[in-house]
Symmetry: C2
Subunit: 131 residues, 2 copies
């Protein structure tokens, strides 16, 4: 038996460009349609479920619950179920969640700021293809 027989294969560093890298799934969760908006909202303060549903326009109860659970499991969101009647559940960001929320929040703000620029670009694009 040689030394090399006992060596352990070093896994390659995470790379989102590899389809089966775990980092790809993290990226997909935090950039998911509702994940982005939920994380950006929670960056500002904690929310109750029903409040969050009103805040994030268009989200269904099912999609909100599912996305919150995914983000909670990933360690980004803390779910605090208060033992009161009627039941009250607050959602807030964990320290890890705060990190990623900064990223998606600034992306959301950027998208809002660039509406005019993108609209102009689309009009120019459509014009060159209108003949």
């Amino acid at each position: 038996m040689t030394v090399s027989d006992t060596s352990v294969a070093v896994p390659p560093p995470p790379d989102v460009n590899h389809a089966d890298c775990p980092s790809r799934l993290i990226l997909e969760h935090v950039t998911s349609r509702w994940g982005v908006l939920i994380l950006a909202a929670l960056r500002e303060r904690s929310y109750r479920f029903s409040e969050l549903r009103r805040h994030v326009g268009g989200v269904s109860e099912k999609m909100l619950a599912q996305t919150l659970q995914t983000l909670e499991r990933d360690g980004f969101i803390h779910r605090d179920a208060k033992p009161v009647i009627p039941p009250r559940v607050d959602y807030s960001l964990t320290p890890l969640g705060h990190e990623v929320a900064e990223h998606v929040w600034s992306l959301a703000r950027w998208s809002e700021e660039k509406v005019a620029a993108v609209t102009t670009a689309r009009e120019a694009y459509d014009k060159t293809r209108a003949f």
Copy 2:
């Protein structure tokens, strides 16, 4: 006729939390599954179509073409079709594209760095629900 009759309604500022705000669609394009990875790749250098397809693991030819076209129409990507034989098409970022690529690139790098933290969080979550 009073002055108020000629006034133009001022549109509300863009808000990604409104389901019909144009900023929501911009955010969805740049955070789309393949949009994120394409923008992050092009932040580093320009790519030919086939190169990009090899770089972004798992993307189909159809989804790559569709995503590139969406991002080109939004004004983020410049498509340069060289008049050579065989045809050669290069994709690169516009100045607007560079701005958004910075955001998604850092989100991609963050996702790679946090694989261990997220894996630990998931294991802890699953343990509390295993009984």
